[in-house]
Every structure is written in C-alpha cells, then in structure tokens.
Symmetry: C2
C-alpha cells in the first residue's frame, strides 16, 4: 500500500514508518521538521543521539534495501503544496502525526498557544479540505489523545469515542442516543485535538471521508523491533520539562541519582502504552478502515492505567531512587480514577507489553546507557497553566525547588 | 461602559454600536472591513446604499453628538496589534462579531473553507489569548449560532447551551450530568462556531474568563430605532445567494416579481429574530455578565420558529407572489422539527417583534423601496455543499433553474 506519514520524523512517526516499510508498504514521510526546530528553540536534545531524517532513511535502505521517501512540506502553512503532493502521489492511506504534541509547550506563553492552535487546526483542516477537493478516498488515520475525554468521568468507563446517553424528551420519555464523548481538555494542546475531532465529524458526515481517530495514552519505551537494527535508527527520547513524559522524566532522574519529582499528590491516573504497541495499533487500524459514509471510527490506543505516584514507586523500586513531592504547575484535579475501554484493539489481536515487564530494559538500555548526555537544567517542568499558578510557584519555597530540582 | 465591538461594521455590528452609543456607552469598533472586501470579490452590494464606516460614524456624531471610534485592525491576522490595542484601551466589555458568517460562502471552494476556518478560529483564539496574557477581566460576548446544535434532536427541546443527560455508571446506576449540547454543524461556517464553543469552555475553565455566547437564529429586518434617524445610517441588506438569508431573498424575489425559490421541500424549520431584538439582546447580555470563574453563559437568541415553505407562503400572501420548488444545494434533512428554549432573554424583559407584524414594513420600506438596485443575476444560491450535489445540480434541468432563477 502507498502510505503517507505526516510528521514521520517524530517520536511515533519514525518507528511507524520503519514498521510499515518493513511490512512491505511504500512509505512517504511529509514533515516540516518543526520538532527539531523546537529542540533548537528550547536548547534541548533527544537523550538518544538522533541523526537527520535523510541519514536515518539512508541507513534504513542500507540495512533493508527498502526506500522511505522524505518530502519537506509544511502541511499547516502550505495548503497548495500539500494539495499538489496529494494529487501527484495519491496515497491509499495517510497517517497524520503532524501536530505540536506537548501540553506544557502549548501553555508556555501566548505565542506558544497561538502557534499550537494555528499549526494543529490548519494541519488537520488543510488535509481534510485537500482530500475533498481532489476527490481522494484515502483512509485517514489520526493520532488523537486520551486527553480529549478530560478526566472528569461520572463513574462510567471511558468508551471508545462515543457515549450512549439518555435524554429526556418533551413527551416525558427517555430517548437513548450515542453522542461523541463530551470533551473536557486540560491544555491548549489537548483542546486542539478536541477541535480536530469536530473537523473529522463534519468531513465524515458531509463528504464521506474515511477517518480513524486513535485516542492514545502516554507512550513509553524507546526501541521497536526495527529501530534496534542499527544504532543510527534509534528513536528519540525526550526528558525535558516540556516534551518529556512523566515516565521518561522519572527514568532520567533515577539514572542520574536525583529524586523522582511528583507534582501534587501524584494521584492523577493516566493511561499508558508502549511504543511498540502504538506502532502495532497503527498497523491494525490500517488493516481495518471504516466504510465510506460511515462515522469516524475511534479507538482508545492504550493498554494500562497507573497513578503517577505508583509509577514513581515502581521506578524507585527498580532503581533505588527517592520520590519528592512538589507543587503542581498544571490546573487539574489532584486525584482521579480512570477506567478505559480498549476492546477493539484487543479483539484485533493486540498483545500488550506491560510496564512491569518492559520497564527494566528502559532503565538499562536507554536511561543509564545515555545518562552521560543528560542536561540536568532541562528536567524541571516550568510551564505553568495559569498566571496565578506561575506566581504562586514563584512565591513558594517548594516552587523554587520545582524550578531547580533535576 | 467602555465597549469594544469587533466586527462593528457588519450587519448586526453596526446597529449594535448605534444602540450602545445611544445608551451612553463609549463604543470602539475594531474591524478589518473584510465584509466589504467580500462584496467586492463577489461583485455584490447591499440593497440599501451603504456608506463607509468613517462616513457613517461622522453622520452619527452629527445627529447625536456622540462619537463612535473606528480602528482598522485585523484581529485574526494581527495578534500583536490586537494585544496592544487591548492593553491601551482596556475595554470593560467586548462584543465579538468578527467572523465570516455565511454558510454558503464557507462552502464555495477549498479556498473559502480555509479562509473561514482560519479567520474565525484565529479571531476568537487571538482574543481569548490576549485577554489572559494581559490579565484583562473584560466581559466577552460572542455571537454564536443556533446552527451549533445541528437540527438532529431526539424529541427534546433545545436548551440554552447545556443538556442534562443520564449516563450509565459501572455500578449499574444512572448518573445525571449537564453537558455542553452535542454539536452537529451543517457547514464549515457552523463548524467554526462549534470550535469557538470549545475555545470558550477551555478559557472559562482554565483562566476564569467571563464569557457569554449567544446562539442566534436567522436575523431578519433592516431598520432599528437608531438606523432610522438618518438615511446614511441605514443598515446593510444582503440578498445574494451567499449572504442573503432565506427571508431577504424571498422579499427581493417578491419585490421584482419573481417566484419565491424554495430549496427542497421547504420543510426545514429555522429559528428567527428581528434585528431590533437582536441588538436589544446584546444590551441585555451586557447588563448580566457571568461571575468570574463560572461556566460560559449561553443564551438562545431567537424569538420564533418557522418552516421555510410557511415563510414563503407568508411572503407570497403579503405580496401576491408565486412559490417555486428547486433542488437543494445543501446537504441537510428535508424536514425537521425545532423547539427552542429562550427563557433567559424573555425573563430579562425581551418583548419580541413577530414576523407576522413586522414583515409588511420590510416589504414596503426596504424591498420595494430599493428594488431598482437589485442585480437579478446575484440572487441564485450556487454554493453546493458537496461535489456530488454540485454535479447532480449541473445535470438536472431543475438544477439549471436553480442557477438562473432570480
């Protein structure tokens, strides 16, 4: 199959491309390389030494004899270029990762808020618009986030995208209806994924586009079967305060002998998935496209849930580290439960890698191996969600620790 | 009160400014004059002869001694200029009309779709972002649309923004919860208003912004108490296939002796409100701002509902015209019921002008009076909602009439 991977140079995009190429698909990366530019802006870099996309694809060809094609295109800014590319290449499927994906980065300043909204909304809308304009029937797979649901449930498990509710009618009866799960985003970044959802609903309904939206949990892990084949195929590993996920930051803190910093009570429950399973889910989704004219197909792409403090304890146990509790720069509930349905991927044969079994290899093969490359000053999470929180952290001695611990 | 009216040169913006100025407020218009540029693009003009905004405000000053200040600012494109303006003037309230507001225009081509999404999302987001950045506590009043609800109800009246639903819990009980009414937009334009809603929900929750969202029906009527004071204060009257509402188009067809063109069966039920009531609602909303930290306040700004074919019959009865039924270029249900709650404005003292009593003056004082200015070629609605509908209309002899009748 001819597949375009938008954002194919990124953390999930790259191993996705390798996996799809490995399975015999013709893979085209469209990427503006913005994630590398943001590394430059923030003065951070991947813990793992990461080559240019041109070099990575060259190594892949050398190792496997398979070509991955790279096209430098900014799909959010250059609608006409994107349209021309799609008209010429006519991919059968499109995997869309081309969005700014860090919640803390999206909250850094007014400039970062505008950038995230602009980039993400335009990337998605340009793509949908061009598909309709060209009459292309490509299957579009989008990487969404569990964060579209928000974490405010009412004791119900989070379904896969659609929620059945009862509505009181004027005749005094209760009508049952399935609705898109009410969204409650916790950051500008998460909000853009909620906006995406509405764009998908409209274009599926009005134009019959075939769309799959994957609401993904927090991805952990670094290596996949394909990235292990050569050191220069290694995936990126972010540990900085903006792009590093909670687990990566624990791993790095442990590797350099610092306490694991938990924000707030650590009672926030989050959904997780290993990068290898994430890449496998995308392959499964490609194999089971929705029919033309049917509603957007939504999967929850996660395999287990954990409280943040339990994760910290797990990493502490594996590594002998201490846990430190600090003020929370995010505006969110201190404690929440989270029960998530993921039946669809399990039925399609997904066999998850659990944190319990995979975490040790992450400690040894990644965090400890590359610990010499850590820039300690980049570990603290400093993007505050509101002006009030920012100034409270500035005033608070514990907050000063938030800015300095690492 | 110092009030900024974004889009204050438009159809509802202008009479809103006059009314607020008349009531003693200090009114500042921020407008990029895009609506005038779109007139130029489409080669259409208001039926009523409309002066420049500079001239209109000069006449208002001459008639009343009150200044309305005009600032040429593109709030969607010039975030920094908007922010500087807000920092300098610090308005206590902001009325936000600054969006592309025609569904057919938003569906004309891929360029028009992109323009509508870009302009509307950025206008709203820039404004919210700047208010937070500056720490301004202005009350923001936004003009939304009844179209955010879609027309797919399940036998329940449309509430004012929030719907109480029952959700099955894991314990087998039913939890009652109020959610934002599930949106089901019928065009790109309507979709942008649904995106706006999510932006408002986020900024009210995260930053405590005080926001009122007015879900307005189709506005009819031309004159208000203030626009009647001088011929050069007259409001715009659109009758073209893109910006002309269904009622305006009937009025013009009647005035020039053509049949009233109903698309499809005319069974679509729509909500309506007179321009004078619309302007009054905005004044009422200004007087009752939500508290800081409370959720977005949503009003349904409409006063009556009618089926399109009943409207056509009403105009036909008043004018002696015929009614002609043509293919529908929109993708929508042929027939729908619509029951809408509008208790909040009624409780605040709104006393609606009904179509039954106000329509004749519209026929005589506006449509017939200015009929000599009608460009007949501009009346047909030609923006098709999908490529399939466009080609079906092209193939169909009735469709040819759709493109030529007027």
């Amino acid at each position: 199959m001819k597949i375009a991977v938008l954002g194919g140079d990124g953390f999930i995009g790259w191993p996705t491309c390798l996996n799809l190429s490995d399975k015999g698909h013709e893979v085209h990366i469209l990427d503006n390389l913005s994630r590398r530019w943001i590394d430059t802006e923030l003065g951070v870099q991947s813990l793992t030494p990461m080559d240019s996309i041109q070099e990575r694809t060259r190594i892949w060809y050398q190792e496997t004899g398979r070509r991955i094609h790279f096209h430098l295109i900014d799909i959010a800014r250059d609608y006409e270029v994107l349209k021309q590319w799609l008209a010429e290449y006519r991919p059968e499927a499109i995997v869309h990762f081309a969005e700014q994906r860090a919640a803390p980065y999206s909250m850094k300043s007014d400039r970062h808020k505008n950038y995230t909204v602009n980039n993400n909304v335009n990337a998605t809308h340009n793509l949908l618009n061009a598909l309709v304009e060209l009459g292309l029937d490509s299957h579009l797979i989008h990487l969404g986030t569990m964060g579209v649901y928000g974490y405010s449930t009412v004791g119900a498990a989070i379904p896969e995208g659609y929620l059945e509710v009862g509505i009181d009618t004027m005749e005094g009866e209760t009508a049952r209806q399935e609705i898109l799960y009410p969204s409650n985003p916790g950051s500008i970044y998460h909000m853009t994924k909620c906006l995406d959802q509405l764009l998908f609903q409209f274009y599926a309904k009005n134009d019959g586009l075939r769309i799959t939206d994957l609401h993904q949990g927090i991805v952990w892990g670094t290596h996949t079967e394909q990235t292990r084949r050569h050191p220069q195929l290694v995936n990126r590993f972010d540990y900085d305060g903006d792009y590093g996920t909670v687990l990566n930051r624990f791993l790095i803190q442990a590797a350099i002998g610092y306490p694991l910093t938990v924000h707030g009570t650590g009672g926030q429950t989050r959904a997780f998935i290993h990068i290898e399973d994430s890449v496998r889910c995308i392959e499964l989704a490609l194999q089971t496209p929705p029919k033309r004219g049917s509603r957007v197909k939504i999967f929850n792409q996660m395999t287990e849930t954990h409280r943040v403090r339990d994760l910290a304890e797990l990493v502490a146990r594996l590594t002998g580290s201490q846990v430190a509790y600090l003020p929370n720069p995010r505006k969110e509930a201190a404690e929440n439960d989270l029960v998530v349905r993921n039946d669809q991927f399990i039925e399609l044969g997904l066999n998850p890698i659990t944190l319990e079994e995979g975490l040790l290899s992450e400690v040894v093969d990644v965090a400890k191996k590359f610990a010499y490359r850590v820039d300690r000053s980049r570990i603290p999470a400093v993007s505050a969600w509101t002006k009030d929180i920012a100034s409270a952290i500035d005033r608070d001695p514990e907050g000063k620790r938030l800015k300095s611990v690492g």
